[in-house]
Subunit: 651 residues, 2 copies
């Protein structure tokens, strides 16, 4: 049933072939199975006391005619169910759970029951405005919702081999391919929130049905051509707004300001942008289209060289959750949505795999180890949507410009995009670790565990040992059951220094490096590869055009960004100054936050002497020596609420 | 007709008794007469091509039955007319203009024609929702609009001696006193936007009618008592929202969260707060109430020691144009509305005059010389509503969090509170310069011109010569026509150093200082007082708790705050670093911006070397020596659009 074979692209291994036994990550992946998926199941069923109601499953029951009532929740409420099903699929692929699978099967029947005769699925439009189907692409999120359902169905098919959900979504996808396109009587539009495009590519890859791919490409090709579809739609007599205030619609918000191939800067709503770039990469690959690939590479460069936080997050403007302009990276009132970092990781993964270029994985790694993990509490029950790099709780007031910045993680919400997105990301972590083509295994992330695959037609297993990210380096045991040698590509992170490889105890000095990968040949039988590098904590600056960070430095160690918390340093973190050459000390603290590496450094604190009752004055700055202590950014906000700061001021 | 006599309070001189012939200010006051008032007249009449329509006078004509049509514009659109009339009144009091007075008389007849039988005036409710009069105090702005009309009527009576407008507003004020109060059948409410209170005090002072004062006090006393009036009003069955989204109404927004005497911090919408504090000060004075006076002093202290920008502006949050928390003073996405600085000056003037305390005038002076002037362009045709202390034009994008920050002043708008507020402030500048009681003349601001008054029952004239703010010091020639000596109180600004006084050529060493005033005795006949002080440009810090300004310094000279502009320093002002002890040089540049004192200093610029294509890296900071050049903040944005920065980073 597989579509084209793509020997010349690296592909992720099936999740079922990857096992994670990592001391850093296993805590999170266990949380997903044991806490988050069950908790979200209760939430979807409106059984969490004290939490806002989700209405998700009730909407489907009503739409399926099984219950009386009205639709509640957002226009895209169905996606909470979709993302939960997708996470469940990934989870049972690695950790079978018949009870959970049975619950998922029940939900799938609900979805099937809510499907129209013609294939259409969407509880909002079904229950509230069936006559307005496809008439508000600007705000309606029908194609976005369809995309998440299709992603879930593909994942569920991969996990269980059951076709039921896939068949339901194939009927919906067929409808979408009928409704949208260049033909007469078809809608010459595209989604207000991208997502369907990458989902249709997945559906094509699993079914081999070419029209799904073509329709995905149609959406990508059509987008941004003049006149703007949304601007026209909003003007139509029968248009009825869902959210209001559209007279001043900005096409850049939905990346429909220009044909996608002409887009050189990441603009507009960050999640919309990321999902679109993923689809652009997929389409560029499937059609082997260089122009589209160049556009992807240009957008990636713009993001990572001018519009990305050091924590691998994007979206500087809270208003409209969007990109702003080059080097505009404020730390204390940014948005940096968790979902946008997930999108960035998904885009980077596609770029890495099809370009066979390890540099993309540096960004993917940063997004995963910093912002995506920051998005979830150590208990797995609270979440950040917004990921600031500087928090002063007193200023994060309701009814002010900083009300979107939360100093503590929030519980599950009625409208919650990020929590289930984190869940599906953690549940599918395996896809980021390894890649492979027919002959070579790529090791991209240093996460302990094992994998099995076929290379040169023979079974291969790899066992990866590491204490990364606390200790540098890793050991990979390869076991080849056949007689042919195979390739092994080891990612050399940009942040790694003194990178050395030993193969079966022998130093390998003359290995080839291809786009950031050390390329080795592994012979039949058992082999052990030991990789060492150093990743001492260090101070970094931002490009001098980043206004927010001028005269400030951040502490990084490998992919981990560090931050100061009030718990360790007292309040007014703003008054701590550090010197450019300050000596950083690392210490593993097993009792702190589940065991982390902390960093300390000699620093100074500005004294208040003479300032009583004054606000502005010519009082010479007085400094007192202190020792600053930094913890990994991903762990912040798991102790008493307080201030947090990534970019420390320079003495 | 004057109400109580208040011998023990300093009062401003009638504007007609004050002449301004100041090289710094006359340009602005001439603009008001020759450009702004005529331009705003055209705007109110919808005769400005290319500008949004005002509808102001048309609304009144329709309400008066002189024209057919519908109401257009904001719920408080009538206040544009009121503020224009108030400015006209001040202008003709100092510079009679029969043609202008005739136009104003015509407008006053329109207002009279739009008045209901029972005295009510408001074109929005008259034309759109007469049945909802007084039913939406939360948003309706009826009392706010009434207040501005009353202020205009009082000013017009002072200027012309004509009672027509005053009589019209007396009828409206009588209605308000009937409608609101503790009595049965009265509304136990208070305005959603304060303004009526201070207006009723003015009306009481001019008419002697006690019930206006009592109703003003009623509004002040009632405010903030539980249950909250607005929260209750919003819940009523017949309530109909004007702006929408009120379910989460925050009483602090309108300073109705606590009884006013219990308020210790400046909170909520900044203009609402300032107008309320003015009224609190007025009522405290009129009733000689110490508790209310203490509340005023506490709020003043909180504002000026913890919540005020160095430029004399307030309101850190653009969202809801409001205060946030102590020391939260961001520079690049604040609001700092021009109207709020005007309110701060009005509050400070009241506090200075009734406390006979010069320190209040330091803040009034800062608001006037920095933010209020920054609010208007050198042409008089463009305005800033928002007054940032740091502007990077590329980041001030529409549809983002910084869209409220405008890098260039804007033209007159359909809904425009600040432009006419600046106009009435500049037209009434005379009230800030001098104060007097029965025996002593107070000189508060150093603005060249003259004044006539009575002290000890005898005519006195004062002629003030100065080139302030460019040169320090001033000369005052006093002329007493009678035989009694009188008092002269000279404000000693907090920023002045080496303050010396010479009386008729003789140094005065032993003068008494009372709350920041040097107290002199002036004998009959002619006297000359020469005051010298130094006000060298200097670098100041903020209190170390002001996060936004840590490790940064601002240049000030006397009351003038300086800023760097791109025009003089190139872009990326963020990369300019200055040392704590840097030597500042002052130079008067007659050709620049109409003649200003500029300040230069040796500084450094962070170089870009090695940063090509990088966003975060361990590249040691490289500095190149440069000379920074600063111009007065009030002049910024009058050349080519570009970056602007007040708080320069420290080397």
């Amino acid at each position: 049933m597989e579509g084209t074979t793509m020997n010349d692209r690296i592909k992720s291994l099936p999740l079922g072939n990857v096992t994670i036994t990592d001391s850093f990550w296993s805590g999170y992946t266990r949380l997903v199975r044991e806490v988050i998926i069950p908790y979200q199941w209760e939430a979807l069923n409106d059984r969490v006391e004290g939490a806002e109601q989700s209405f998700c499953l009730r909407n489907f029951r009503i739409a399926a005619g099984l219950e009386q009532g009205e639709h509640h929740g957002a226009v895209f409420q169905d996606t909470d169910v979709a993302k939960w099903l997708e996470a469940v699929a990934y989870s049972i692929e690695t950790h079978p759970d018949p009870q959970l699978e049975s619950a998922a099967d029940g939900v799938i029947e609900l979805i099937a029951g809510a499907q129209w005769e013609d294939g259409y699925i969407n509880t909002y439009f079904t229950l509230i405005a069936p006559e307005r189907r496809w008439k508000n692409l600007t705000e309606g999120h029908e194609l976005y919702t369809a995309g998440h359902l299709i992603e879930a169905a593909v994942a569920y098919y991969h996990a269980t081999g059951k076709r039921r959900f896939l068949d339901v979504m194939v009927r919906f996808a067929d409808l979408i391919c009928d409704v949208f396109g260049e033909g007469e009587g078809q809608i010459h539009g595209y989604p207000g929130h991208q997502e369907i495009e990458l989902a249709l590519v997945k559906l094509y890859r699993v079914t081999g049905e070419r029209r799904y791919l073509d329709t995905a490409k149609y959406f990508i090709d059509r987008r941004g051509h003049k006149p703007n579809y949304f601007k026209e739609e909003i003007q139509r007599q029968d248009f009825k707004s869902i959210f209001g205030e559209l007279k001043d619609y900005d096409p850049a918000y939905s990346q429909s300001h220009l044909p996608v191939r002409e887009q050189e800067s990441a603009v507009g709503h960050a999640v919309r942008a990321m999902y679109m770039y993923c689809a652009m990469a997929d389409i560029a690959w499937e059609y082997r289209e260089e122009e589209l690939m160049r556009a992807c590479a240009g957008l990636w460069k713009n993001i990572t060289q001018k519009r990305m936080y050091i924590t691998g997050s994007v979206g500087s403007s809270a208003f409209l959750e969007r990109f702003t302009t080059d080097y505009d990276l404020p730390n204390d009132f940014n948005y940096s949505e968790t979902c946008a970092s997930i999108g960035l990781a998904l885009f980077g993964l596609r770029m890495a795999r099809m370009n066979r270029d390890a540099s993309y994985m540096d960004v993917v790694e940063s997004a995963l180890y910093n912002t995506i993990l920051s998005g979830i509490s150590s208990s797995g029950m609270e979440f950040f949507y917004v990921n600031p790099l500087e928090v002063w709780p007193a200023s994060c007031m309701e009814h002010t410009s900083r009300q979107h910045v939360k100093p503590v993680r929030q519980k599950w919400f009625g409208c919650a995009c990020c929590p289930p997105n984190i869940t599906r990301t953690l549940a599918s972590l395996g896809q980021y670790i390894y890649g492979a083509d027919d002959r070579t295994l790529y090791i991209d992330l240093f996460i302990a565990g094992s994998a099995k695959l076929e290379l040169e037609g023979q079974p291969v297993t790899v066992l990866l040992e590491t204490e990364f990210p606390w200790k540098p380096g890793f050991k990979a045991h390869m076991s080849l059951e056949g007689g042919s040698p195979v390739g092994l590509a080891l990612r050399i992170p940009a942040w790694a220094e003194d990178y050395t490889i030993r193969l079966n105890g022998q130093a390998v000095a003359d290995y080839r490096v291809e786009k950031g990968y050390a390329m080795l040949e592994i012979q039949a039988g058992e082999s052990t590869v030991e990789v060492d590098f150093s990743m001492d904590a260090k101070l970094v600056y931002s490009h001098p055009a980043v206004r927010a960070n001028v005269n400030r430095m951040a502490i990084v160690r490998g992919p981990m960004v560090y931050c100061l918390e009030e718990e360790d340093n007292g309040d007014r973190l703003c008054d701590i100054l550090v010197e450019e050459g300050a000596q950083l000390e690392e210490q593993y603290e097993p009792q702190l936050l589940g065991g982390i590496m902390t960093v300390t450094a000699p620093a100074y604190r500005i004294a208040d002497d003479g300032w009583e009752g004054k606000l502005y004055a010519s009082i010479p700055m007085q400094l007192e020596p202190v020792v600053l202590k930094a913890v990994p950014y991903c762990c912040w906000g798991n102790r008493r609420p307080g201030e947090m700061l990534v970019w420390v001021r320079k003495k």
